[in-house]
């Protein structure tokens, strides 16, 4: 009876068993890289909007405070997206005929909100509250980046769980004085470790790693 397997299959089987380990490793690495790439996390990807609203112009150029539009950030979980009326407060007179702002005027006339594309959207199983972060001295730019330099909005952080935990493990690394929370020019390096520890004690910051802190 003839042999079913040629002797060279001995080598082939050894190489494929040995190689499978590397192949699996490479596949896991590739999958992880894909999940962490900006293709998946949208980090550094400027998002299209119905009106090309520029935070750079309004914050850096005009010096508007974050809270001028995001009015509920200090009292509520949701920072607040301004009603069209806020836009029209100036744009009923400034750039009042600009074609680029027609969707704003149309929204105001018809009382139908502008449908902005949401840039920072956590999954529904993660609980997040802006007001407590603001009250504990965590600044806007810590999570949202230099919004004052963004012509269109993009993410600077992944919003992945390991990113949340990195700060929840050691929140004092990102603390700043409460009165500087909305300061887009705040330099994190302007505080020494001792000063940060002092603020952390003053604001009662503690490591919040219980699952139910965010998954409730």
């Amino acid at each position: 009876m003839a042999q079913i397997f040629h002797p060279s299959f001995n080598t082939l089987s050894k190489v494929s068993i040995f190689g499978a380990v590397f192949f699996l490793g490479a596949a896991v690495f590739a999958w992880d890289s894909l999940l962490r790439s900006s293709y998946n996390t949208q980090v550094d990807v400027a998002r299209e909007q119905p009106v090309p609203f520029s935070h750079k112009h309004h914050v850096q150029g005009l010096g508007l405070d974050c809270r001028f539009c995001h009015t509920s950030v200090e009292e509520s979980a949701f920072a607040g997206i301004p009603p069209t009326k806020t836009c029209m407060g100036c744009h009923s007179l400034v750039w009042k005929d600009a074609p680029i702002l027609e969707p704003v005027r149309e929204s105001y006339r018809s009382d139908r909100p502008i449908e902005w594309t949401r840039v920072h959207d956590l999954p529904d199983f993660a609980y997040f509250d802006h007001s407590i972060h603001v009250a504990k001295g965590i600044g806007c730019t810590t999570c949202h980046g230099q919004v004052n330099e963004m012509p269109l909005m993009w993410r600077t952080e992944t919003l992945n769980m390991d990113w949340c935990l990195a700060c929840h493990r050691n929140p004092s690394a990102n603390v700043r004085p409460r009165e500087r929370v909305f300061d887009v020019d705040w330099d994190p390096a302007s505080l020494t470790d001792e000063e940060r520890a002092g603020l952390a004690a003053q604001y009662h910051l503690k490591s919040m790693l219980n699952c139910s802190t965010c998954h409730r």
Binding site: F68, C90, L93, W95, P123, D124, F125
Partner: protein, 170 residues
Amino acid sequence: MHDQPRFEPLERTTLFADGRASRPRVPGTIARGERVYDAHLVEGKVDGALATTFPMPITAEVLARGRQRYDIFCSACHDRAGTGEGLVVKRGLKQPPSFHVERLRQAPPGYVYDVITRGFGAMYDLSDKLAPADRWAIVAYVRALQRSQNASLADVSAAVRERLLAEAKK
């Protein structure tokens, strides 16, 4: 899991014709804890006339809050000193009058409150952004700004007077 069958603020829905999950307020209703029957606090009026007094005592905290809210919501047009030369005005918005003209210096607090609450001329009202107590805090701060532009050395404490005189000599 990522999108559960519940609505986040301002999310879209097919449930209502206008597509809004966050519903506009039903006319004639008030929010929990909202005070509507205190005409002095909410309307800025006493016996139907613009209030000439504040509905609460003016403390250092009230002024600090007023300054913070003023800098956020008012300074873009009125500028931080209240002269009406804010950055947005330089970009083409109608220039508001300075707070330091005689007419506005003599206006009662209820007048400033009324303008914040109902708007005036090119200025839209800020009633959706500022609770009544914050509006009154801003009114108090505007009063402080008006005083500051017409203050004399006699108005400040002895310690501050010394510092100002020292600075003036430099």
